[in-house]
């Protein structure tokens, strides 16, 4: 296959799409990074949380018929806004009933054993959610039929020579992702609750001495992580056809982004996701179709081996 250098237009198009897609990845990564950063838990059910968010959007828009009642854009915004509290509550309960109970009545378990057990439990949760999704929703891929997916904003800054198309659904998703990530940043750094969460992550024992209920912090974290992932799901659903196993398409992107941002650095995860999005889109310029998926892994492995603290991480993992 002869290699021809991609034109400027194609490069700009890839960068623009990469930034949009990357922002959405950024939100997913932030949600996963939040759970890892504060609870030290590798959450395997993250992809399935995303899937639930997608079906939630479908239920609001088509199931309740809201998109024909109030138009698809308002209905979508409503779905996104509703997803956060709804899935926050589910995550909260999930932690209360399942994850948080591990180790609670077994004081002999070490922190590492608790995390390992929780990890396997998230694998179990993932199986239940994805296969339960199959039972409830069926295996046929579906999509949100919104006009947004087929509309594009055209950027034409070079007098018609170079045209860059920006898909409206992706713009909306990127804006929502940025807003949610900024909101999380403000929550973590400006509010008492956020400071408590960070303190509980930094030094759980000292946090207890400061009157912080660490278990409650973990419940809030898990709820928030779930809520934000579901929010990302409602947004991705606008341009990505989905089925109950759709989580697998995204889970590696999420892990790669979190590692890239530096394990434990919550906001670093956003930049990690953004870079993954860019790399993925840029790779379409030079790589054959089937190999594009590998770029994420190659970048992921390179980062791991060369700079395990991540591109934006501060230091090596806390012991």
């Amino acid at each position: 296959m002869p290699f021809s250098p991609p034109g400027l237009e194609a490069v700009l198009q890839a960068v623009a799409t990469g930034l949009l897609v990357g922002s959405t990845y950024g939100l997913m990564c932030v949600a996963l990074g939040l759970i890892f950063g504060i609870m030290r838990l590798i959450n395997f059910a993250q992809g399935d949380f995303l899937m639930l968010g997608m079906y939630f959007a479908l239920a609001i828009l088509s199931g309740l018929g809201l998109s024909s009642l109030i138009g698809s854009l308002p209905a979508l915004i409503l779905a996104a806004l509703a997803a956060v509290p709804v899935f926050f509550a589910i995550g909260w309960l999930m932690h209360l009933a399942l994850l948080g109970r591990i180790g609670r009545d077994r004081p002999g378990m070490t922190e590492g054993e608790v995390h390992q057990t929780q990890l396997i439990m998230t694998l179990g949760i993932s199986l239940v959610l994805s296969n339960g999704g199959l039972m409830v929703f069926g295996s046929t891929p579906v999509s949100l039929n919104t006009p947004l997916a087929s509309q594009a904003v055209v950027l034409d800054s070079f007098g018609g020579d170079i045209l860059v198309f920006l898909n409206e659904a992706r713009i909306l998703a990127a804006v929502a992702a940025l807003a949610a990530s900024c909101g999380l940043y403000a929550l973590l750094h400006r509010t008492d609750l956020g400071k408590k969460l960070r303190a509980a992550a930094d030094n759980p024992l000292a946090a207890t001495y400061m009157g912080i209920d660490v278990a409650r912090c973990h419940r809030v974290t898990f709820g928030l992580g779930f809520g934000l992932t579901a929010l990302a799901g409602t947004m991705v659903a606008t341009y990505y056809p989905f089925q109950p196993y759709v989580g697998l398409d995204f889970i590696i992107v999420m892990y790669a982004g979190v590692v890239l941002g530096g394990l434990g650095s919550i906001m670093g995860s956003f930049w990690g996701g953004l870079v993954i999005g860019l790399v993925q889109q840029m790779s379409t310029l030079v790589l054959p179709m089937q190999l594009q998926g590998t770029t994420v892994f190659v970048v992921f492995l390179l980062i791991m081996l060369v700079r395990p603290q991540g591109l934006f991480g501060r230091s090596v993992e806390r012991a």
Binding site: F36, R40, I42, F44, L98, R101, I102, G103, R106, M109, E113, Q116, T117, Q118, I120, M121, L123, G124, I125, S126, L127, V128, L129, S130, N131, G132, G133, L134, M135, G138, S139, P244, L248, I251, I252, Y255, A256, V259, L263, P288, Q290, L291, Q292, G293, T294, F297, V298, F300, L301, M304, L305, P308, E317
Partner: protein, 587 residues
Amino acid sequence: MFSQRPRLAYIAICALVAAYGCAILFTTNSYYQLMLALVPVWAVMGLAWNLFSGYSGLVSFGHAAFFGIGAYTTTLLFAKAGVTPWIGIPLAAVTGSLAGIIIGAITFRLRGHYFALAMLAYPLAMLYVFEWAGFQEVSLPMKRENAALYMQFSDPRWNALIGLGLLVLALLVSLKVERSRFGMSLLAIKQNEIAAQVAGIDAFRWKLKAIALSGALAGAAGGFYAVILLVVTPNTVFGLATSAQALIVTMFGGVGTLWGPVVGAFLLVPASEILHAELGGKLPGIQGVVFGIAIILVMMKMPQGIAWAVRDRFLPRRGRPAQAVSASAVERLATPFVLPPHAAIMLEAEGICRSFGGVRAVADVSFQVRTQEILGIIGPNGAGKTTLFNVLNGLVTPDRGAIRLSGRDITGLPPSRICALGVGRTFQVARVFARMSLVENVVVGAFVGTATDAEAAERAREALGRVGLGALAEAPAEALTNCELRQLEVARALASRPRLLLMDEPFAGLDAGEVRAFMSLIRTLRDDGLTIVIIEHTMHAMVKLVDRFVVLDHGSVIADGAPQDVVRDRTVITAYLGEKWVPDAVA
């Protein structure tokens, strides 16, 4: 070798073969015959995962890489070159093992979560590569003639029997590993890699061996899987589900135990297949949901897995022998030992410097230890005592300076080499394998310098005798008191028959009587010819024990001399003991 019931495992394997063989013979439904061939596949996969991750503690999310490579090796050899799976499956084991070595060599520098996540990437990257290379779906060609030669039996029960054979092989390999220095070394690494290296275990080499063997088993499982399914796709063999399955059957059954993965696979695989067969048509995904719920419940009720829970329930835990009271008074030489004034120099540190991120932890430290001397290194917390120890046994390389052991330069050697040269070390926090016997706990230290495991066990017993725990050799470590745990820690260091013993705060947490007993143990060891260096936080007990003190403060030696002189030294009093110090109270 080190276990109490070596024969029991072989009997259990025979029983398994008999029972499973009968089940295979009497199964007529072809779907269930296929299932009976799948159970061993996942059991072997679980054993492969357990062999590496279960024993070494490095969690792998990427065992699908080895499984998939094995599956494709067998399939492609058959489809493209006509090589029979009878040869293809062993070759799958070889390629799986090679993949393990390569992946391990690259990835072992990562630890904890980083290692786990990096492992996740390998099979998924391979998935795309195999898709790109045009192997989206490769079928095994049908061989009507000479079916048996190509492992294509008309009666699928043969497949189940071959699977059973593979499982027995994997069990025997695992058993061999578990009962030998291989498995014990891995467990020691899992518990504390640093302590293991200091005990003379070359962690990198053992981990590499483990992942190679694990990759071989997983590769063979993958090759066989391809044979029974007759078609491979990148998604089925490299997918996340494959890695997860290995982890799930093991965790469900019990990690770090031979029977865990087998129990997990024997319960989960049939349950899932039967559910799929009976209800899958009406409720697709039902088996996944039930599977998931089962995992969640097991993790909540018995987080260690079923095998451990059953063992604790039905096999009585070994307690300590009733009459064995460890108060075997250690006999001392009649005359107190006097260090000859011109004893040979055992250890010499010269101008050791070491900084961490700009902070000088140890600055230009020089001192000597003479043969059969007891040297105390004291100083306030943060004075650099532990860093100095870490430099002495190779855990930390000094920025400058040299360490000589009996005149030989050992600077920069890895800890396991330094241990082999005769430097033993105890740690402040005694880490033990609670469920294992004292011999099994101590034997880890004896692998250095012994050729056979029997010899190592012999040395372990001898070391236990030296610290006065000989009568408890077969008792589990969880039955010990705090003081006995300390003695166990010393025994582990003695098992390598060191010439020089470094002890890190041996008295912390002991009461006055225990401290006295421990001091007499240390004196006895010296009388037997050992040279001993002790770091301690407090001076009081040490004054009576040591021949000489080296006092550290802010990374530098501020005093070096006999106890009675050091406690009156102005610098030492100001920097460490405090102005209110009354030397006569101790000297």
